[in-house]
Structures are given as C-alpha cells and as structure tokens.
C-alpha cells in the first residue's frame, strides 16, 4: 500500500529522505503529480509529496530572478510574473490536456525536472538554460546547494544543468532560483499557406537564418508559422522583412496579430495541433531541423495513419500513432537512423510504458556513465527508481 509523506520545511524534507534511506524505502517524488503518467511507471511504497514546501521566496523583477520553493504551482509563478510584464522565457508547456488531465496543473520545479520548453526553445533555451541555482536533498539525506541567484556564475560544477531533465531521479529539490525575462510588448505571426513538410521546414530554416529574430517556427499541415516578438516598431519592420524574404517562394501568406498569435503559440506549446485521438500514443522526437521531414516520411511509410506537426524549425516532431502494444518504438527510433537525436514516448498506457523504453536508449558507455552520475547523488536509488528507463 502506498503511503504519503508531506514535509513542511527544508529540515522535514531532509529528515524524510534520511528516514527513507534508513528504512530502505524508495520514494515517488512529486509536486502536483501532473506528469505521473510520463516516464516509466513507478513502483514505490512511499510518495514524497512536495506540495507542503511551497511559495515564492523572493522576486526581484529588476534582477530578472525569482526564487521559489519546490511545490509552488506554475500558475502562481506565471500570474506573479505577468503582473510585472515578465515571463519564463522557455515557455513551459501545459501538457495536462495532452496527458488526459486538467489544464493548469503542475509546478515550476516539475517543468524544470522534465526540462520542458515551448516554441521559444529555439531562441531562448529550455528550462535548463534558466535554472540559476537550487538547494535540495541528495540520496544520502544531506541538504546541499549549487549555483546561485546571479546571472553569471561558473563557481563549481553546474549541477543545475544535470538536475534539469533528471525527472526527480538525482535529488529532491527544495528551493530554486530561475531567470526571468521581460515579456514582449507585441507578437506577430506570419503564416505561409500550403507548403508541404519539406518546403515548410526549408522556409523555417531560412527564416531562422535571417536577421529577423524569429522566436518560434512551427509547421502544421498546410500552415507554416513564424513568430516575431518585441517592441511594436521592430515587430512591424521584421514582419515586412520576413514577408519580403518569403515572397521569393511565391507562397500565399497571412498574418496573425498579437492576440491571435498568443492563442496560436499557446496551442503549439501545449501540443494541441496534434489532435491526437484519445487512445493514440504520442512521441516527441528531437532531431536536426532539416532531417525532420525525412524522419517523418520513414515513419509514415510504415504507419500511414501517423499524425504529426513540427516545432523548433523542424527540430521537434510531435507524433501521434494508433495504439499498439509496443508504441511502435522500433519504427520510431529506427527512423532516426544515424541522423542523431532522440525520441521520447510522451503518452502511452501504463503497460506499454512499462514494456518499452520511454527515454531514448543510449550507448553502453553513456549508460554506464549516467549510472555512475546517478549513484553520485543517490547511491541507494531512493528517488523515482527506474523512471528514466
């Protein structure tokens, strides 16, 4: 039977881990539990609930930094930043609806643990690029910290990077400091109509290589969208420049204004355009942008019913496949071939996720190295055991 323990302070958090270590009990570490269906299913006797360690510790808009506790809901953070016209530039997606759950759930630290990022990943980076520092508890029951609250810091190893994207398997975070940025005044989107995948990705790559500072490039069936953000005169000038650049292709275009753009890019961020059937399995493929169309074509040869769209200028493919026992993982990963990149199974029934590698298999040398890194933080494997399998 699963039991839950809910510490209310840093010291209680540390004691909880120390206790688990002493008892040899593994911990299912969670904030709001919004991403429990992502990753390998856990079989832990004990839930470590971080929702009691919550709240903004410090927010200094002119320092571009916010410090908060691990259980702080994302919605609380985003609402506070919006009051000061700031944002989390990595544009964390709300995967709730995609994962069959309510929207608006999850914590900022949860997004960091998954190293999530939205369309602005291209120009602003992912959660990893914005985590300035943290404090937490390692698998020895020791409270430790790394990084800080300042923008530039190379003192000691950058443990923030390896914690981001570790899905809670290395340490339990207590407090994080995250970089924030001014929200753009204006947003505009240039939509190119009727391009096929290859032409769409070519157009996106050309736009990204232009001086027009494109901050989002997504290709949906028949619609290739390029986002521009900034102060009004700049957005206007760049929109014109981008139109001129794209005019060579002789393609039909339309424009979205600020409000329409925001809605559109929120949908892209939250994977809404995939329109995956409720029982479809969903993959996220990260690849070199120009390789995207060929990878998808290889998958479609084998699975013609595949649905997909591209973000990150073609470097991110969101893919929905009809249900199957093995989520077609060999087909999907085989399609990547030698091009480099990785495919993550984002949504599938528990039995499928238990049977199939959810995260992309790595070389033997990397597997061994990652295991040693895991052991250096969590020698007894207390935290989310096997989640990243």
């Amino acid at each position: 039977m699963t039991q839950t323990i809910k510490p209310r302070s840093s010291e209680e958090l540390r004691q909880a881990v120390e206790w688990a270590l002493g008892e040899g009990v593994t911990l299912d570490v969670r904030g709001e539990g919004s991403k429990l269906v992502l990753g390998k299913p856990l079989q832990c006797a004990q839930v470590l609930d971080l929702s009691g360690i919550s709240g903004i510790v410090d927010y200094a808009p002119e320092e571009l930094v916010i410090t908060l506790r691990a259980g702080t809901p994302m919605r609380e953070v985003e609402a506070l930043l919006a009051q000061r016209n700031q944002m989390l530039a990595f544009e964390p997606p709300d995967l709730g609806p995609l994962l069959g759950q309510a929207p608006g759930q999850g914590t900022l630290v949860g997004a960091v643990m998954g190293n999530l990022a939205g369309p602005r990943r291209l120009s602003a980076g992912a959660a990893r690029d914005h985590l300035l520092g943290f404090s937490g508890v390692n698998g020895r029951g020791e409270a430790f910290k790394s990084g800080g609250r300042v923008m530039k810091n190379v003192t000691g190893y950058d443990l923030s990077k390896v914690l981001a994207g570790s899905w809670g398997t290395l340490a339990v975070l207590d407090e994080v400091s995250v970089k924030v940025l001014p929200a753009p005044d204006q947003t505009a989107t240039l939509v190119l109509l009727g391009l096929d995948d290859a032409a769409g990705v070519r157009a996106m790559c050309a736009a990204m290589g232009s001086p027009h500072e494109v901050s989002g490039a997504a290709h949906l069936p028949g619609r290739t969208a390029l986002r521009l953000e900034g102060v009004a005169p700049s957005v206007e000038a760049r929109l014109k420049g981008l139109r001129d650049l794209m005019a060579d292709a002789g393609v039909k275009m339309e424009e979205l204004g600020t409000l329409e753009s925001r809605t559109f890019w929120c949908e892209v961020r939250d994977v809404a355009p995939l329109k995956a059937a409720p029982d479809a399995v969903v993959w996220k493929i990260s690849c070199p942008p120009t390789e995207g169309p060929a990878i998808l074509a290889r998958i479609k040869t084998r699975r013609p019913a595949a649905q997909a769209f591209y973000d990150w200028s073609g470097g991110l493919i969101w893919l929905a496949l009809p249900p199957s026992d093995d989520a077609d993982h060999t087909i999907v990963r085989g399609a990547l071939g030698a091009t480099g990149g990785h495919a993550t199974l984002i949504r599938a029934p528990e039995a499928v996720r238990a049977a199939v590698p959810v995260f992309h298999p790595q070389s033997a040398a990397l597997v061994a190295l990652a295991a040693r890194v895991k052991e250096s933080f969590d020698p007894k494997g207390l935290f989310n055991p096997g989640r990243m399998g």
């Binding site: 980076g125 409270a143 300042v150 190379v154 003192t155 120009t290 990785h342 190295l369």
Partner: protein
C-alpha cells in the same frame, strides 16, 4: 598558492612515461626538454608557473583515448590545455602530470547553415568560428575578451562568457553537442545537431567543469545570424549610484541590451589615456550600453535608454552614429586591462558576480578594503549581469605586496558571496579561487561535487589540484553509513 605534493614515484618513472607517450604519439608530438616545455609552464594567470612532467600534443581522438587509458592504467595525472588563456590557472601545469595540449585539433569540420551550427575541433579559436561563418552573415555569440586566442575547447571547460552574455547567454547556452574522451579511454558523444539530451544533461555538466571530468575532442556550436545593426550609447554619471540605478532602470523597463558595461572613474581615466575614445573624465560612473537588432528597433531603444539615463541624472549622453564611432566607444573598454597595465607593474583581475542591486554597496566596501590594504583597485564590469572585474594594482616583484594583493582579492570575493553573489562569474575557479570555495559552499556541497567528479574520474587524475580545496578519495566519499531510525520526525504529516 599550494599545489598537491609531487609524487616521487611518478617523477622517478618519467622516462618510462615519456617512452609510453612516444609509442602513442610519434614524432614531435611529445616534448620533454626544458626549452621545449617552457612555453607551457603557465597560462594567463602568469603569476604562477610550474613545469609539467612532459607535454604531449595528440592529433587524433584515438591518440587522446590511448593517452588517457595509459594514464588511468598507470595512475598518471593529466592536465588538459587548450590555448592556455585561463585567467584562473585552469590549465596551469602540475609537476607530476602530463600536459595534454589540444592545439593540433584546430580544424573546422563542418558548417551547416540550414541547421545553424558548426562542428569544430576544440583547438579552433573562439574568433576562428566566427571568422569561418561571417561571410554568410553568421557568428558565434559568446565573446570572451581573449577571443582572438582562446580555444573553443577551453571555452567549454570554462563556460566562457563575454560582454554579450546578458542577451545571448554563456557558452553553455550556445552549445549543441560535444565528443569527449573519458579518463578510461571511452569516447562518448553528447548532443549533436539536435536540441536537448535524451538522458541526463551531461553536456551541461561538462560545460564549465574546468577540465576535471573529461577531454573534449569535438564541439558542435550554435550559430546565430548577425544582428543587422548595433549602436552604442555612452553615458556618464556624476555618481556610481546614478550609473547603477540606470542599469537597473533599463532592465526594469523591459530592455535587454546586447551589452551593458560600467567603468569607474579610475578605469575611465586609464582607458581614455590609452586609446582616446573620448570618454568624459569627470564621470564617476561610465556606462556603455549596446543595442542591437533591426535598425528601427535599435533607434527606438537608443532613445528609450537615453531618456532613462536623463531621468537618472546622466551628464554625458552620446550615441554612436556610425560603426567607426561604436567601435571607438568600445575600444576603451576592451583595452581597459592593458590600459591599467600602463599605470601599474602588475594587476590581478577578479571576477566575482553579485546581484545588480548590490553593485553600489559592493563598490563602496571595496574602496574601504582598498584603503585598508593600501592597494589601488580599478573597476571594470559587466554591469548588465552583475559580473565585476575589479583590478588590484600591485608589484609582483615585491613578494609581500603579492601576498597582500591575494588577501585583498580574497576579501573582495568574500564580500561578493556575502551580498548574495559568487566567487567567479566567468573566469573559473582553477587554482586561483580554489581555497575560497569554502566561503561559498559547505563541505556537503563540495563533497557532492566531488562525488560527481568520481563518476567521471575515480582516481582524481584529471586536472588535479584545481577547483577543490582539498580532495577526498572517491572510496571515502562513496561510503554510506545508514542508520535505521524509526520515525525520527513524528510530527510530519503522513497519510
């Protein structure tokens, strides 16, 4: 500065080690004569010098792997070196260690404009990457002052910054992948032309690890399209507080300049005497704010910055009108270090980072410390991201003054940590700040970092004597004493 004692057993085996290296790297790639090794005896922290055991310059990844495997098997220490421009002694040789110089890895392997990246060998210079792509309008964003000389491999090791970090990030934000060799000789690739890692972000961990975890043999960097325009604004303030206020106000207004630099009166005076950039000599605080992007945006933002500066009491506001003038505005700032070198036999450059809001307080306290120690301190810094570069003026020929300088430097860095900052923003810990790590980190913090080190290098053979004030053996660090303790915290809610 004390380095670990030399191992007499290794010194006694020197000729055997040299022979083993010659079997791996033929010809002139192994240097063991004193004259040949002399150029390698220090890096850019030139106050400290040490001859290596032997220098080896491999040319292939296989050779690097064979060298490291040999070192692992025979418990020989290795110090990796790029261009040797570290300001913290990151590549300073160790007397009983092989110096592994990566200078022959100097080729640009592939440029992929469509995917906006370049694959280069680690010995390619930072500026060399930009030079290879600028004819197509692209560049590599991080621009440390040493960019003419410093290598990309060294940039990865140090997570190098530059004046444009606030907007474009440090090295870590501009890398897509690396190939590296582990101490056991295994070659692993992290990342590639795609974004993010499949497993743990070991690429992020490697970046800024100061050559203690692995030897980088290939780097994939992200390329950016050059902004269509850049203009600089020169702002002089009657007080340092006025200048610092202006920095905060610009950022609070939602503007992220391409660069935002500050110099104190002394630095301004030195720089002006050195290059004649037209800096106002009456300003207590001088700012150079660079705005880049499309011309219409730059014009708009220049006006807004000027307006903010006027509101903060700026006495000088000059906007560059052409590229020549912009370069001139920067010339003084970029030459600030050599300019200071003109007025003092030696200087020590510090690198603390503080929250921007603490700039004025830190500057004032630094003045007090400067008086106490009787050593002049000149300040040049990346104001936009709170990264200070105090320059302590001293005479290295006077050992007592060098010692006083080191002590003043340590006090300034302690001050940075006390106000919520850190010991180093971009130069690295190396040997220079190694013994101050305990000011910023607890023993538990440092033990955790050392355990990560053990995951890569279980015998502490790679770049020994750097970063950690005292090394603990991995076996000792790995020991875990578990005490079973039934419910030591009956009050914590559980259900």
């Amino acid at each position: 500065m004390e380095m670990p004692p030399l191992d007499p057993a290794i010194l006694a085996r020197r000729s055997e080690i040299v022979a083993a290296l010659r079997a791996i790297v033929q010809g002139e790639g192994v240097i063991d004569d004193l004259d040949g090794m002399r150029p390698y005896e220090c890096d850019a922290l030139s106050a400290y010098r040490q001859m290596p055991l032997v220098v080896v310059l491999p040319e292939t990844v296989d050779q690097v792997a064979a060298i490291l495997r040999y070192c692992q098997d025979n418990k020989v220490k290795v110090v990796p070196r790029g261009a040797g421009t570290s300001l913290s002694g990151g590549s300073m040789p160790v007397g009983d260690a092989i110096l592994l110089a990566m200078g022959k890895f100097n080729r640009v392997l592939e440029i992929d404009y469509a995917n906006r990246c370049a694959r280069v060998q680690p010995g390619v210079t930072n500026l060399g990457v930009t030079k290879a792509v600028e004819h197509e309008g692209f560049y590599y964003a991080p621009d440390p002052s040493s960019q003419i000389a410093c290598s990309i491999g060294g940039n990865v090791a140090e997570n190098s910054g530059g004046v444009h970090c606030l907007k474009y990030g440090l090295t870590t934000n501009n890398l897509l992948g690396i190939e590296m060799v582990l101490m056991n000789g295994e070659v692993v690739r992290l990342g590639g032309k795609h974004l993010d890692a499949g497993g743990y972000d070991l690429l992020g961990l490697m970046t800024g690890s100061e050559g203690l975890l692995g030897v980088v043999t290939e780097v994939t960097v992200r390329l950016l399209r050059k902004p269509s325009t850049a203009r600089a604004v020169l702002l002089g303030f009657p007080t340092e507080a006025g200048a610092a206020d202006c920095v905060a106000a610009v950022i609070a207004s939602g503007i992220i300049p391409g660069g935002m630099e500050m110099m104190d009166k002394e630095a301004t005076k030195c720089a002006e005497a050195y290059v004649g950039a037209g800096y106002p000599l009456d300003a207590e605080g001088l700012l150079i704010v660079e705005l880049d992007g499309p011309p219409v945006e730059v014009d708009y933002l220049v006006e807004r910055v000027a307006e903010i500066a006027r509101g903060r009491g700026a006495t000088t506001i000059r906007v560059s009108h052409d590229e020549q003038e912009r370069v001139l505005f920067w010339a003084g700032r970029k030459a600030a270090f050599p300019a200071v070198g003109q007025i003092s036999p030696d200087y020590m450059c510090l690198d603390g980072s503080v929250p921007r809001g603490k700039l004025v307080e830190v500057l004032a306290e630094m003045r007090v410390l400067s008086k106490q120690y009787g050593l002049r301190v000149v300040n040049v810094f990346h104001a936009g991201d709170g990264n200070l570069h105090p320059l302590i003026l001293f005479d290295a020929n006077d050992p007592a003054e060098l010692k006083r300088c080191e002590e003043l430097g340590a006090d300034i860095l302690r001050l940075c940590v006390r106000v919520g900052g850190v010991l180093t923003g971009e130069h690295g810990v190396g040997i220079e700040k190694r013994d101050l790590m305990g000011v910023q980190f607890t023993e538990i913090d440092l033990d955790q970092q050392m355990r990560v080190k053990c995951a890569f290098d279980p015998d502490h053979l790679l770049n020994p004597g750097k970063v950690f004030p005292k090394l603990r053996r991995c076996a000792e660090l790995g020991r875990l004493v578990v005490t079973q303790n039934n419910l030591p915290f009956p009050d914590i809610p559980r259900f």
